[in-house]
């Protein structure tokens, strides 16, 4: 029963990937990672330069996943209540209140897309933190549930003016932080310039088949994946060693150039982070038609699920991306399996 279900859903997942890859070219790895996050039921944070296709990528996924879709733009004057409700004067001259983006789709909210999340104030981050963790919100004296909601957010690290760093507690709520870079292949770069279909994003997105997945079944199916994809004792030991290495890289002989390793790590990966790593690894194993997780499944998602959770000494925060990448590569190279 489950085998057939797993196979059917795998076909749909691969179809979703293929549809997204049609409109966002040269981003096969980020597309695979977002697919994994969708089936692992994890929120996704995209990070990259301006105009590299982060928003297009997320919109394409949103269309394929189906369900309610809401979007908000991060701005410096955005307040938490802007996510919950709008107030306006009606035609009758009286003040009216209407649901904000979080409440508008009710329980059918499938994707909440937060564009440029780092432009919003910490108060907004705080609200999002709760919604992401608990998928509930109290408003108008009522508890609102968003059982199918995934938060897709993007942030642009180039501009620092009028932006607010997402605190580590909020970063930890995201299953993955996926870097998006311009594809290096010259033919793809050329088509991005000259192929006119890439110039109109709204039109481009319509090329993705709508509602490929049944969004309201994703939670239950994600559970099926997690229950049916096994992890052997050797893999558990390997994952444990990886975790310990993120906490004390020096003990595993890991070095990062021009970094005092004794001072670097304030906090390694969190238990929630390691749980998300294994959830994502199981989905990767399922997408690769396996019943068990292997170390390569963990490698496939290791950087993206762990790097943004590491808490470094403030002196190294400016070099976070580079240091995290080097340190996590060192961990993968140093920790042996079995």
């Amino acid at each position: 029963m489950h085998d057939q279900q797993l196979a059917d859903w795998r076909a749909q997942a691969l179809k979703l990937e293929s549809e997204v890859n049609k409109v966002v070219v040269g981003q096969q790895n980020p597309v695979r990672l977002i697919t994994i996050a969708v089936f692992a039921r994890g929120h996704v944070l995209l990070e990259g330069d301006v105009g590299v296709g982060k928003t297009t990528l997320l919109r394409a996924f949103t269309r394929g996943i189906g369900g309610g879709y809401q979007r908000i733009e991060g701005t410096i004057d955005l307040m938490p209540n802007d996510l919950v409700y709008h107030t306006y004067l009606g035609e009758d001259g009286k003040p009216h209140v209407s649901p904000g983006p979080l409440l508008m789709s009710g329980q059918d909210l499938s994707i909440f897309f937060f564009n440029e999340i780092n432009r919003a104030r910490p108060q907004v981050h705080s609200l999002m933190l709760r919604v992401m963790a608990e998928r509930t919100l109290t408003a108008f004296n009522k508890e609102h549930y968003f059982p199918h909601m995934l938060v897709f957010a993007d942030r642009n690290q180039v501009e620092r003016e009028e932006t607010f760093d997402i605190p580590s507690a909020a970063r930890d709520r995201f299953m993955m932080e996926i870097p998006i870079v311009v594809p290096p292949a010259h033919d793809i770069m050329e088509s991005l310039i000259f192929d006119t279909r890439f110039h109109d994003v709204d039109q481009l997105i319509t090329n993705v088949e709508q509602d490929i997945l049944k969004f309201d079944q994703l939670n239950s199916f994600a559970k099926v994946i997690q229950e049916n994809i096994t992890a052997s004792p050797a893999l558990r030991k390997y994952a444990l060693n990886l975790w310990l290495a993120t906490k004390d890289p020096l003990a595993y002989g890991i070095k990062v150039s021009n970094v005092d390793m004794k001072r670097l790590v304030l906090s390694g990966a969190s238990p929630r982070g390691m749980g998300m790593l294994l959830r994502a690894a199981r989905v990767n194993a399922w997408l690769n038609e396996r019943d068990a997780v292997v170390p390569e499944d963990i490698h496939a998602v290791f950087h993206e699920t762990i790097a943004h959770r590491l808490v470094f000494s403030p002196v190294y925060e400016m070099r976070r991306t580079e240091i995290a990448r080097e340190m996590l590569s060192g961990i993968v190279n140093a920790v042996a399996a079995p």
């Binding site: 052997s232 019943d291 170390p295 140093a334 042996a336 079995p338």
Partner: protein
């Protein structure tokens, strides 16, 4: 009475003639002008410590300029024993040989002389290789001149000491103390030192590289031996795979997984011939440790295949090309 008187005169004359004959033979000729001759001598390196029977060799290189030329017959003859004041000197010419080289303006005579000591005494005594006299003829004239070679002074020693000898009086300053030859001992000590240095270098290598010979005792050679000692059961198989994983890790310098085999082979191209087996090994490892459903066909028991794989990897490690099927 007249006849006996003349007979007496004749006898006197004959007697005189015979007695003066040797004097006539040893007549001293005028020396040749030094501008016509030059002499270079090569004397024995030692000038003391000769005992009866010893031979001394010296070479005289005589250059005679034209118009003079050497009268070969005036060279000393073998067996000639020099006398001094009527006493034999005890130094006899034992051999002579000459080489001549003629040039347009001169002739060069290389005269090799070998003298033998025929005297002995109770104490060290001075002796001399006489400065031989040779004669030169003026070409085209009857004029004969002589030239004398320089003499060579040396000392003879007694074969043994007779009776009581006061060493203080008898010690000759000309004889160095006799020492025992240490050449052989020096040779032995040099050879021994060489062997010691080589042994130390060998020891250093063995201790440093943990191997007897270069390219031996590598990670896979050790793994091959370890795998051979592990039991033929499921636990032994897991341990064998572990041992080989460790060997690969050691050779690569980092963890190797099935998704970075190509990187490993790029870094260590010596293992390229074993690529199909390396991939199969990772499939076996995956099947044993992580995913029992991993499809795999080894064609022989896993433990036996691991031994073969390990041997092939050891061959690669030693720079050989294994026969991978």
């Amino acid at each position: 009475m007249k006849a006996p008187k003349s007979l007496f005169s004749c006898l006197l004359a004959i007697t005189l003639a015979f007695t003066t004959l040797p004097v006539t033979a040893d007549v001293v000729l005028p020396s040749v002008d030094s501008k016509y001759v030059s002499i270079r001598e090569i004397n024995p390196t030692r000038d003391a410590g000769y005992v009866v029977g010893d031979k001394l060799e010296r070479t005289i290189i005589l250059t005679v300029k034209k118009p003079y030329e050497l009268i070969e017959e005036s060279l000393p003859i073998v067996g000639y024993e020099h006398r001094y004041r009527g006493q034999v000197s005890g130094i006899e010419l034992a051999n002579i040989s000459t080489e001549e080289e003629s040039f347009s303006d001169r002739s060069v005579h290389k005269i090799h002389l070998t003298y033998q000591v025929f005297k002995s005494g109770r104490v060290a005594k001075p002796a001399i290789l006489r400065g031989e006299i040779v004669k030169l003829r003026h070409n085209g004239k009857t004029e004969i001149r002589q030239v004398r070679f320089p003499s060579f002074n040396f000392r003879t020693s007694p074969l043994s000491v007779y009776g009581e000898v006061n060493l203080k009086n008898e010690m000759s300053p000309f004889i160095p103390p006799f020492t025992i030859s240490t050449v052989r001992e020096y040779q032995i000590i040099k050879v021994a030192a060489g062997v010691l240095v080589l042994s130390l270098l060998g020891l250093l290598y063995i201790l440093g590289a943990h191997t007897w010979l270069p390219r031996m005792g590598g990670a896979f050679a050790k793994a091959y031996r370890k795998v051979g000692h592990l039991p033929e059961n499921a636990e032994g198989l897991q341990q064998s795979i572990n041992v080989i994983h460790q060997a690969i890790h050691q050779v690569a310098g980092h963890s190797v997984f099935s998704n970075n085999i190509d990187q490993f082979l790029q870094e260590k191209p010596a293992y390229q011939p074993a690529k199909p087996e390396i991939e199969r090994f990772f499939s076996l490892s995956r099947q044993v440790f992580f995913d029992t459903k991993t499809p795999l066909e080894l064609g022989m028991p896993a433990k036996q295949w691991l031994r073969t794989f390990c041997r092939h990897m050891r061959d690669c490690e030693r720079g050989l090309i294994p026969e991978v099927k």
